[in-house]
């Protein structure tokens, strides 16, 4: 047991040894060490969050053919600190008829729902908060708390726009939870466990190869869960100003904003964990956790970059289209995919890994092809229904 292979346990042992040496009871010392561990993790996350603000602004600037923050420090790296100081010294306004307690509780819950997700993120085989055996469901449960915080913010602000934004956002979040659950069950079926560590260990072949459709559905559902474009109906700045957080100012708004960025980063991380092998990369993770953590964070940043890429290149979808897309397309597709995956898993799990992988990938590709073909026919029929009368006239004009 040394620092190079298991730094977390060593630090905890050293700390409890020190504290018990000072005459503290062992139970209290262990509790204090665990508390300090959580505190350090949250502190690191908040520092990462500060740089996520910089990253997001820099990336959106490149997508819009601008340079982004570039005045303070190298590449504008000090800009986010200036932003935070600005948020802290802004006047803190509470609307006159707001429900004070609920109004102040909502940003805290919003941030909390993101931070507690990191309890189950395995940064390295040994470095994780808790290896829950229901981790996949835990992701959904924290989403429920996020939903609650949005409706609390929208209602307590006593503002029409905030309430409308909250309604829309919650409608989207509640609906997209269902394809999310179904797509979370796909790695569960493939790995035979809901625990994050076991899912990563089972990925001799990355699950994105075995189930590309599952990875795609998870990503779409995650973007909707985050309320980011093209699913940002809840914000819709051109019609709702800013949605559920319109009345918040200063650091309370900052909590929503920072929570959203960290949430996107976290879901990028979960995408990496569930479908791209998490901290594993050609056996490097077994050498040392100091190599595993950068691997996971790199995968999380790549996932986050894809979320940003979608956000800044797609248009907002109308709410009825969005809900129809979910209920009439994504939900049935994810259930069919889950059944196909389970069936193929049962049929081929005892054969060679090659046959298993090929049949899994093949079933995904066939299902994807069937879906695209079905969509093509459906949209052609719809188009002909709309243009049916105009068509003969055009042909007559042409001849």
């Amino acid at each position: 047991m040394n620092f190079w292979t298991d730094p977390l346990k060593m630090a905890a042992d050293w700390l409890t040894g020190l504290l018990t040496g000072w005459g503290m009871p062992e139970g209290v010392a262990v509790g204090l060490a665990a508390f300090l561990g959580i505190f350090v993790l949250i502190a690191i996350l908040m520092v990462i969050d500060i740089f996520l603000v910089w990253l997001e602004r820099k990336v959106v600037a490149r997508f819009q053919d601008r340079i982004g923050p570039n005045r303070l420090g190298p590449f504008g790296l000090i800009q986010p600190f200036a932003d935070i100081v600005k948020l802290l010294i802004k006047e803190d306004i509470t609307p006159a008829n707001a429900d004070k307690v609920v109004y102040n509780l909502a940003p805290i819950l919003s941030m909390m729902s993101v931070l507690i997700l990191w309890a189950i993120v395995p940064l390295a085989p040994q470095i994780l908060g808790i290896d829950l055996n229901v981790a996949a469901l835990y992701i959904i449960a924290t989403g429920a708390i996020g939903t609650l915080s949005i409706i609390m913010a929208g209602w307590s602000s006593n503002n029409k726009f905030a309430l409308l934004g909250a309604f829309r956002q919650v409608a989207v979040m509640v609906s997209f939870e269902i394809p999310m659950v179904a797509s979370l069950l796909i790695p569960t079926v493939l790995a035979g466990s809901m625990g994050m560590n076991k899912i990563i260990e089972a990925q001799n072949i990355w699950f994105v190869v075995l189930s590309p459709l599952g990875a795609l559905i998870f990503m779409i559902a995650a973007i909707a869960e985050l309320g980011r474009s093209p699913f940002d109906m809840g914000e819709a700045e051109s019609e709702l100003i800013s949605g559920y957080n319109v009345e918040y100012s200063g650091m309370k708004f900052g909590m929503f904003y920072a929570g959203e960025l960290l949430h996107a980063f976290t879901f990028g991380g979960f995408w990496g964990i569930l479908f791209f092998g998490g901290y594993s990369f050609f056996g490097l993770e077994d050498v040392s956790p100091f190599l595993a953590i950068p691997i996971l964070l790199t995968k999380a940043v790549i996932g986050y970059w894809i979320i940003m890429w979608v956000k800044y290149t797609m248009m907002r979808i109308r709410i009825d289209h969005m809900l129809a897309f979910n209920w009439k397309f994504l939900t049935p597709l994810s259930f069919v995919l889950l059944m196909v995956t389970a069936l193929v898993h049962v049929l081929f799990k005892d054969t060679s890994p090659w046959l298993y992988g090929l049949s899994m990938l093949g079933s995904n590709l066939i299902l994807g092809w069937v879906v695209i073909e079905f969509l093509r026919r459906f949209s052609r029929a719809e188009r002909e229904k709309l243009e049916g009368h105009a068509k003969p006239a055009m042909e007559a004009a042409g001849h």
Binding site: V102, L132, A141, L148, L163
Partner: protein, 169 residues
């Protein structure tokens, strides 16, 4: 008193306190939010009993779906969120008697129960409670019949909901 007992008492107290606030709060949204706190307290109790799956499902189903539905229903159906009129009606003594009798009966029953003093047994390391639960739900000599009956009931409810909401052109 062990730490587990202290946590149990604190959580149980908070759960009961928020349950009391659910029925006494004049503001219906506040009542719904107190209900969320109550349900969360129950989830913590499940977690204390080593039932992690039930704890998470409690949060997903009751807070994520049912409480949100309550809040939506209150917001969309009421013109006035605040409850008007007196809080007690003429039959308050009946419900008070009933609840006291039920509580007394439950306490009396548990008092005579020989396993009352048992603490939660430690789960042996490597025991996977969630696969045991999954096996029990689909094994013929355990709970497959109630499980399937519940599935059919939910399916019927789903079909009924689609039928009610279906817009015949």
């Amino acid at each position: 008193m062990t730490i587990a007992q202290i946590i149990f008492l604190v959580v149980a107290g908070a759960t009961l306190g928020s349950a009391f606030m659910v029925v006494t709060s004049r503001n219906l949204i506040h009542a719904a939010l107190w209900l969320v706190a109550t349900l969360f307290g129950v989830a913590v109790q499940y977690a204390l009993l080593n039932a992690g799956f039930l704890a998470v499902v409690q949060v997903v189903v009751y807070i994520g779906a049912i409480a949100i539905l309550f809040i939506f229903a209150v917001m969309l159906t009421r013109k006035e969120i605040r409850d008007q009129g007196p809080q007690l009606n003429s039959s308050w003594w009946l419900s008070a008697t009933l609840s006291v009798v039920t509580f007394g009966g439950l306490v009396g029953m548990l008092w005579g129960w020989k396993d009352m003093a048992h603490t939660v047994p430690d789960i042996p390391p490597g025991f996977d409670s969630i696969s045991a639960l999954g096996d029990a739900l689909v094994s013929p000599d355990a709970f497959v019949l109630p499980f399937e009956v519940a599935s059919i009931l939910l399916l019927a409810a789903l079909v009924g909901a689609v039928y009610v909401a279906f817009n015949r052109k």
